[in-house]
């Protein structure tokens, strides 16, 4: 002190009431800041999680597309398999029917079965046997039937029977199927 004989008493700038007010004020501020930070974190976390979900969604959509394509392929394959099975069944049935048509006197050497044609190679004791016992049922099945005979040494005949179904009949047959 330059002029005063005593020094001033220390000043309590913060009274008890003010201290209490400041304490609650600071606590409130801290709570607000804490809440704000928590919400900021949660928002950030939510955005991050959302991005992950979006990524997962994209991945799943891609997987679904792939799986749908696979399903389509499998369905196609199933259809093809069914078709093949059906065709095989039909062919098996046709072959059985064919062999049922052939009488015991006639011997078949070879048979070429196509979708709309049947070519038979074989041996017959005579033309009549062929004509009455094989040619008649073939004619009832096919639209056009052509037969060629070749005599062999033992007096029998080799024959080549070409039988064709017309397209119209095939279409009708397919429609019937």
């Amino acid at each position: 002190m330059k002029h005063s004989f005593i020094t001033p008493s220390p000043k309590r700038l913060i009274s008890g009431e003010l201290r209490l007010v400041l304490f609650f004020f600071i606590v409130t501020i801290m709570m607000l800041v804490g809440t704000y930070l928590f919400l900021e974190y949660k928002t950030y976390d939510f955005i991050d999680e959302r991005e992950e979900v979006v990524q997962q969604e994209k991945s799943l959509k891609h997987s679904i597309t792939q799986m749908e394509e696979e399903i389509k392929t499998i369905e196609k394959e199933v259809k093809i398999a069914e078709q093949i099975t059906t065709d095989n069944t039909v062919m098996k049935e046709s072959i059985r029917n064919l062999f049922d048509l052939v009488p015991d006197d006639i011997t078949l050497d070879r048979a070429e079965l196509e979708s709309s044609s049947l070519i038979l190679y074989g041996t017959t004791p005579n033309k009549d046997t062929y004509e009455y016992r094989l040619h008649a049922p073939l004619r009832s099945i096919f639209h056009r039937t052509y037969t060629s005979f070749y005599p062999i040494e033992n007096g029998w005949y080799r024959f080549v029977s070409s039988n064709y179904l017309d397209d119209e009949t095939m279409t009708q047959g397919e429609e019937i199927k």
């Binding site: 002190m1 330059k2 002029h3 005063s4 004989f5 005593i6 001033p8 008493s9 000043k11 309590r12 700038l13 913060i14 009274s15």
Partner: protein, 351 residues
């Protein structure tokens, strides 16, 4: 560091309240100055007197103190046992040896006061709490700061119940004395000072003569300034002072007039003023005698007297000094409240 910044910010928000208490006998002059960021917000003055003056003042101040915790109460030391001394050699030992509290000023001179009186004062104002206690000599130094550095002169502070006299030479205090007025009235001027065995490093001769004994002034012939006195052709002898009305045998003295004239309040007040002025004249006269007789004199002679007048009646004193002691007298009206506030503010800035 953050907490000090916090306190600085809080302090910046508060108002600063400076309160000056100037005890005036049983009454109190109070000045309350409110500042905020060094801007003056308000300035109030109150005067309290009567039997409940202190309680009234305390009640008034407590309301002001509640406004802000940054309040400073300053008081002008009303103690009788105080003064100032040349040199600071006693600064460190005065408290231990003589029970005095001292303040060294610029390593040139010191202020002192009685620790006992200081503690009594602090106890008396304990309900309010004092922050600064100022010496009247600090008031003189501050009030005449434009004059005390310009040469050798006598400076006085005239209050209603005390009178402080100091000699300054180029800003350095050479000699000083503090006179309580009421003690003078009751006990005579011989008894002021050195009360209850209180002394601070000075052995003052008890000069009881009224007027300056020129015989006591050594080497007076060597003083050049005496030549100037020779030019005062109108004064052949100090006895000629009797021509002055107040001291002439033919004219009734003030005291005689008091007995004759009817005692209205105005006349009573006027008479008290005359008495106080004459008492102050005697104090100056006595102080000059002591100074001229002391070692501090060094053949210096006082030409000019500067008086800070706090009680509002210095005309007679000026006339006495000019006519009796041939001094140049300059009286300046002083507002004690403002001066105490000014010192308190400068002290607060130093904190």
């Amino acid at each position: 560091m953050p907490s000090s910044w916090g306190i600085f910010v809080i302090a910046w928000l508060y108002q600063k309240i400076f309160i000056a208490i100037v005890p005036d006998g049983g009454s109190y002059d109070v000045r309350v100055v409110t500042l905020k960021q060094k801007k003056l917000l308000s300035k109030e003055s109150r005067h309290f007197e009567g039997s409940t003056a202190y309680e009234d003042m305390a009640g008034y101040l407590r309301k002001r103190l509640d406004i802000s915790p940054l309040h400073y109460i300053a008081i002008l030391n009303p103690g009788m046992n105080q003064g100032a001394l040349s040199g600071c050699s006693l600064h460190d030992i005065a408290e231990d040896l003589n029970g005095a509290k001292t303040l060294c000023r610029n390593q040139k001179w010191l202020l002192y006061t009685s620790i006992l009186e200081l503690e009594t004062l602090k106890k008396q104002y304990s309900t309010l709490g004092l922050d600064f206690v100022f010496s009247p000599f600090s008031i003189i130094e501050n009030f005449f700061r434009d004059k005390i550095g310009t040469g050798f002169a006598l400076y006085a502070l005239a209050q209603k119940d005390s009178f402080s006299v100091a000699f300054f030479d180029d800003g350095k205090l050479e000699y000083a004395h503090h006179y309580p007025m009421h003690q003078h009235e009751g006990a005579g001027i011989e008894q002021e000072g050195n009360v209850i065995g209180f002394t601070v490093g000075v052995e003052e001769d008890e000069v009881v003569e009224r007027g300056i004994s020129l015989d006591d002034i050594e080497n007076l012939d060597d003083l050049d300034i005496i030549d100037e006195l020779d030019n005062l052709s109108d004064i052949e002898d100090l006895d000629a002072l009797e021509d002055i009305d107040e001291f002439s045998d033919d004219q009734p003295t003030i005291e005689e007039k008091r007995l004759v004239l009817p005692r209205s309040d105005e006349i009573k007040q006027e008479m008290e003023g005359f008495n106080d002025d004459f008492a102050r004249f005697e104090f100056i006269q006595k102080t000059l005698s002591r100074f001229y007789a002391s070692e501090q004199c060094n053949d210096r002679f006082v030409e000019t007297v500067y008086i800070a007048d706090a009680y509002g009646s210095g005309v007679e004193l000026k006339r006495y000094l000019e006519e009796e002691l041939f001094l140049n007298v300059l009286i300046r009206r002083i507002d004690m409240g403002d001066e105490v506030i000014s010192l308190a503010m400068s002290e607060e800035e130093e904190l």
